[in-house]
Amino acid sequence: MGKKSSFKFILIGVVFLAIASVIFSIPRLYGRANKAEVITISTLKKIINISELSTFQAVYNGIAEVMNENKPDKLDYYVTYNAKVKAGFDLEQVDIDFDEKLKKITITIPEIKITDVVVDIATLDYIFLNDKANKSSVSEQAYKACIEDAKKESAEESAIYELAKQNAQNIMKALINPLIEQLDSDYVLEIK
C-alpha cells in the first residue's frame, strides 16, 4: 500500500512538473512576436554570417617588366598598372567555441585567401627600354603581363593577408562584444 501511494505521488509530481513546464513555455514560444534570444553557438553563427563583411580589398598598383620575346634576357619595357585585390575567408569555416566554465568564447577565423585580382587596363603606362617594342599590340601584351604580375606579387605579399585577418578580427569584435558585454560582462571574447 505504501509503495503504491509513493508511486502515485511520483506520477502526480511528474505530471504536475510537465504541465508547469508547458504552461511556462507557451508564452515564451508564442507570447511575443520577437522572441528573446540567448547567446549560443548557433545564434553567434547567425550574428557573424554577413557575407559583405568577409572580403577585404587591397590596392596593388605595381610595375610589370616585359622581356623581349626573342631575347628573354633583354628587357623591352616597364609598365605600370592599377589593380584591386580582394582577400577574404569562408564564413562557413569560422569555428566558434563556447566554454561556459571559463566564460570564454573563442572564434577562429579560417585561412585568408586571395579571391580576386582585377587590373584596370585603362591605367597602363610605359617606360620603354627598347623603342621597337612600342607597337600597336603592346597594350594587349602588357595587360597580360600586368595581370600575371599583380597575381604573383599580391599572392606573395604577407601584409595583404595580415591586414585582412586584422580587419576580420575587428569585425567579429564589433558584432559580438557589445552583446556579451550587456549579457554577461564576465565573458571573454578571443579571436584567433
Binding site: F24, E52, N61, E157, I171
Partner: protein, 211 residues
C-alpha cells in the same frame, strides 16, 4: 513518509530552478539596450586597414643640359604602405526615441597613413633610359611625395571609401537589429550624413530592420 517528503522537495526545487534560470536570462535580455558608447566603439572597429602598393611617377621637363641637349628627369618609385579608412567615430551622433533610431554619420575618409620605409630602396626606382641623372635630393623629394601621393590616391578611391562607409553602417545596423531581437523590438533606422563642412544632409535612406 520520508520518501514522499524528499520527492516533494526535489520536485519543488527542480521547478524553481527551471523558472529562476529562465527568468534570469530573460531579465538580462530585457535589460539590453542601445548604447551610444557601444555604437561609437563599433564605428572604431569598422575602420579598414588597407594594404596600399603604389607607384609614384616623377617627371621634370628640361631638368638637365642646354638647347638640343636638354634632358627630362623621369622616374617611377614603387612603394607600399597602409591606409586607414573609415568614419570618424567622434562625429557620429545617435538619437534613440522609442523604436526609432536616428544616426548621423560623417563620410568615410582617410584617417591615417603609413608608408613602409623598407619598401623604399634603390630597387624601388625605375628610371627612363634617357632620363637626366637622379640626384639624392630628387630621391628625398620623391620619398616625401610618395606619402602624400598615397593619401591622395586613397582619398580619390571612391569605391574603397564607399566600402568603408558601408562596412560601418552594416555593423551598426546589425548591432541595432541584434539588440532589437533580444528585447523584442523592431527598430527603424534613419541615416543622416554629415558633409565635409559638418552640415547634415537630408535623410538619404530610412530602414526598418526585420527581426
Amino acid at each position: 513518509m520520508k520518501i514522499r517528503k524528499i520527492i516533494a522537495l526535489f520536485l519543488v526545487l527542480l521547478l524553481s530552478f527551471t523558472l529562476v534560470s529562465c527568468d534570469k536570462t530573460e531579465s538580462k535580455l530585457m535589460t539590453m539596450k542601445l548604447q551610444v558608447s557601444q555604437m561609437k566603439a563599433i564605428c572604431e572597429l569598422a575602420t579598414l586597414e588597407v594594404y596600399y602598393h603604389n607607384v609614384a611617377k616623377y617627371k621634370m621637363e628640361d631638368a638637365e643640359g642646354i638647347l638640343f641637349w636638354k634632358k627630362d628627369r623621369h622616374f617611377w618609385i614603387e612603394y607600399s604602405g597602409i591606409v586607414k579608412l573609415g568614419i570618424d567615430a567622434s562625429l557620429v551622433a545617435i538619437e534613440v526615441k522609442d523604436d526609432a533610431v536616428a544616426i548621423t554619420v560623417p563620410k568615410a575618409r582617410v584617417l591615417d597613413k603609413k608608408v613602409d620605409p623598407q619598401s623604399l630602396n634603390k630597387e624601388s626606382f625605375i628610371v627612363e633610359k634617357d632620363s637626366a641623372k637622379i640626384r639624392g635630393e630628387d630621391e628625398t623629394k620623391a620619398f616625401e611625395e610618395a606619402q602624400e601621393n598615397m593619401v591622395l590616391a586613397a582619398s580619390k578611391d571612391t569605391a574603397l571609401l564607399a566600402s568603408a562607409q558601408q562596412r560601418a553602417q552594416i555593423l551598426l545596423e546589425e548591432y541595432i537589429k541584434n539588440i532589437g531581437k533580444a528585447v523584442g523590438k523592431e527598430y527603424s533606422i534613419e541615416w543622416k550624413y554629415l558633409d565635409t563642412d559638418g552640415d547634415t544632409s537630408k535623410n538619404i535612406d530610412k530602414e526598418s530592420n526585420e527581426s
